[in-house]
């Protein structure tokens, strides 16, 4: 306000503020503003960790974020996408500190390529899939697939998204992979697969349980929780990336994810907490 008053107010008696001094004052105010934006949000010594998160874990990581930031003073910046896309970005130099994948394959490959810090790979959650429809009458178990009173069945792309692969394995186990091929629409990741169903463009789809069972999600529609014997376990692994191995914020996040506070949130989103892997 002071800067505006200097420009707009009536001229003072005596010396008028010269334009350069006005400019200086304005730039000074800008500097303070900019400084407080950067410095004020982050406490002293706090760092920032950029974390690449598989779409299925998006809701959970956003629920973990405020607790993590309050507990450690570090800031977290979240990017979400399919595991395959994030992996390709990391291989091409994307500046992430921690990668929360939806599988074990991509984290292992990063480790083999020397892009993950040694010993920084661990399973943080086990995912589950459900056949889901927003229509309360649509899904009543695996028989829904045999009845076939739907035009589109949404799944994530099996080639790039582990939840899509689990959906494919489930369909194969039930013997529907071939006859339903014409009905399948593939989302780029599990987030899009969910979106296709939520927008009613597909009547039903295989989604991550975490997308329809978080603390803020009412049990809307109808679902069939796919038995885990139908698909390979979705072991979701995290890696600390090599470039961030010495960054306190990245290390703090990895430690926090292995702790009891994070485990509680992760379970609340419908994941199983891994024991011993």
């Amino acid at each position: 306000m002071a800067a505006f008053a200097a420009f707009n107010g009536p001229p003072h008696h005596g010396a008028h503020p010269s334009l350069p001094s006005c400019l200086r004052r304005f730039l000074g105010a800008l500097g303070i503003l900019g400084g407080s934006l950067v410095g004020g949000v982050l406490p002293a010594h706090a760092g920032e960790v950029k974390v690449a998160v598989s779409s299925n874990f998006s809701a959970a990581i956003h629920a973990i974020q405020p607790d993590f930031e309050a507990a450690t003073g570090h800031h977290m910046r979240i990017s979400t996408g399919s595991t395959g896309k994030l992996y390709a970005q990391i291989r091409n130099g994307a500046p992430f500190g921690v990668f929360l994948a939806a599988d074990t394959r991509r984290p292992r490959k990063l480790e083999e390529a020397g892009e993950a810090a040694p010993g920084g790979r661990f399973t943080y959650a086990r995912g589950r899939i459900a056949l889901w429809s927003p229509d309360p009458r649509q899904v009543d178990g695996p028989g829904t697939l045999a009845k076939g009173d739907f035009r589109h069945l949404s799944i994530a792309n099996p080639e790039t998204a582990p939840y899509g692969l689990a959906a494919q394995q489930t369909l194969q186990a039930l013997g529907h992979w071939e006859d339903l091929k014409g009905a399948i629409v593939r989302g780029e990741n599990i987030g899009q697969a969910h979106q296709f169903v939520a927008s009613h463009n597909a009547e039903l789809g295989f989604v991550a349980l975490s997308q329809i069972s978080g603390p803020n999600r009412p049990g809307e529609g109808s679902r069939w929780l796919v038995p885990q014997s139908y698909y390979d376990p979705i072991r979701q692994q995290a890696v600390l990336l090599a470039d961030a191995a010495d960054e306190p914020a990245a290390r703090a996040l990895v430690d926090y994810l292995r702790g009891p506070e994070a485990a509680e949130v992760i379970e609340a989103f419908g994941y199983a907490i891994p024991k011993g892997d």
């Binding site: 399919s82 395959g84 390709a88 080639e159 989302g187 927008s199 463009n201 597909a202």
Partner: protein
């Protein structure tokens, strides 16, 4: 270097078909619209012009999102179709055409409108009217030939712009090989699974094709110049 797989060839075919059908639809819909815009003195002409130009500034994901909502069985377009006994349009080739028509609209309408404006300013239409030519006759025998460069530019830009479409198909296409998986999506998939050879091959082909297309048009455009302007 990778080799073109059957799925890649399918993606190529779908992309060309989508761009071709979209261009035809746009020429049929865009010509009367551009003609009206070039001639009208209506106050709300500027509103229509602004709406036509919207896809130029909107991210394709915005268009794709609205199409996804509108085409769904609860949306205005999909809902109407279902009520009439048809099917909603997401995940279909027809749905992609609808999305692409919206996405490439200004690339066809604007060159046509410019071309028609210059035709109308020249008095040829009035001369033809004096000679007893009816409105349709005047349009097809005077306006269209004079505006031929505009048609060429409009068709090329509409076609080329649809070739490179990504955001809209990603949102409403469903990535179905042989049906809605276009080249840009296939390239995206290849990059995700680190098949850089195939990604290079498809991208290179699309680049070369687009360049040759534009080259041909610019060369032709010079030869089509209307003498006496």
């Amino acid at each position: 270097m990778g080799v073109l797989s059957a799925a890649d060839i399918e993606a190529f075919r779908i992309t060309l078909a989508l761009a071709g059908v979209t261009t035809l639809v746009l020429l049929v819909l865009g010509t009367p619209l551009a003609w009206w815009l070039a001639r009208t003195g209506a106050r709300w002409k500027v509103v229509v012009e602004a709406v036509v130009a919207l896809p130029l500034v909107l991210p394709p994901t915005v268009l794709g999102f609205y199409f996804l909502v509108a085409l769904g069985p609860h949306g205005p377009i999909g809902g109407t179709l279902e009520a009439l006994g048809g099917n909603a349009l997401a995940f279909t080739f027809t749905g992609l055409v609808v999305g692409s028509v919206g996405y490439s609209l200004p690339f066809v309408v604007q060159p046509l409108q410019d071309a028609f404006s210059s035709v109308i300013g020249r008095g040829a239409m009035e001369a033809a009217a004096t000679l007893g030519a009816g409105p349709l006759d005047r349009f097809f025998t005077v306006a269209v030939p004079l505006a031929r460069r505009g048609f060429l530019t409009a068709a090329t830009l509409g076609f080329a712009h649809t070739l490179g479409e990504f955001g809209v198909v990603l949102m409403i296409g469903g990535n179905i090989p042989g049906e809605t998986q276009v080249l840009s999506i296939a390239i995206y998939d290849h990059v995700e699974v680190l098949e850089y050879g195939q990604a290079h091959l498809l991208s290179g082909l699309l680049l070369a094709f687009s360049f040759l297309l534009l080259l041909a048009v610019y060369a032709l455009n010079n030869r089509l110049r209307v003498v006496g302007v």
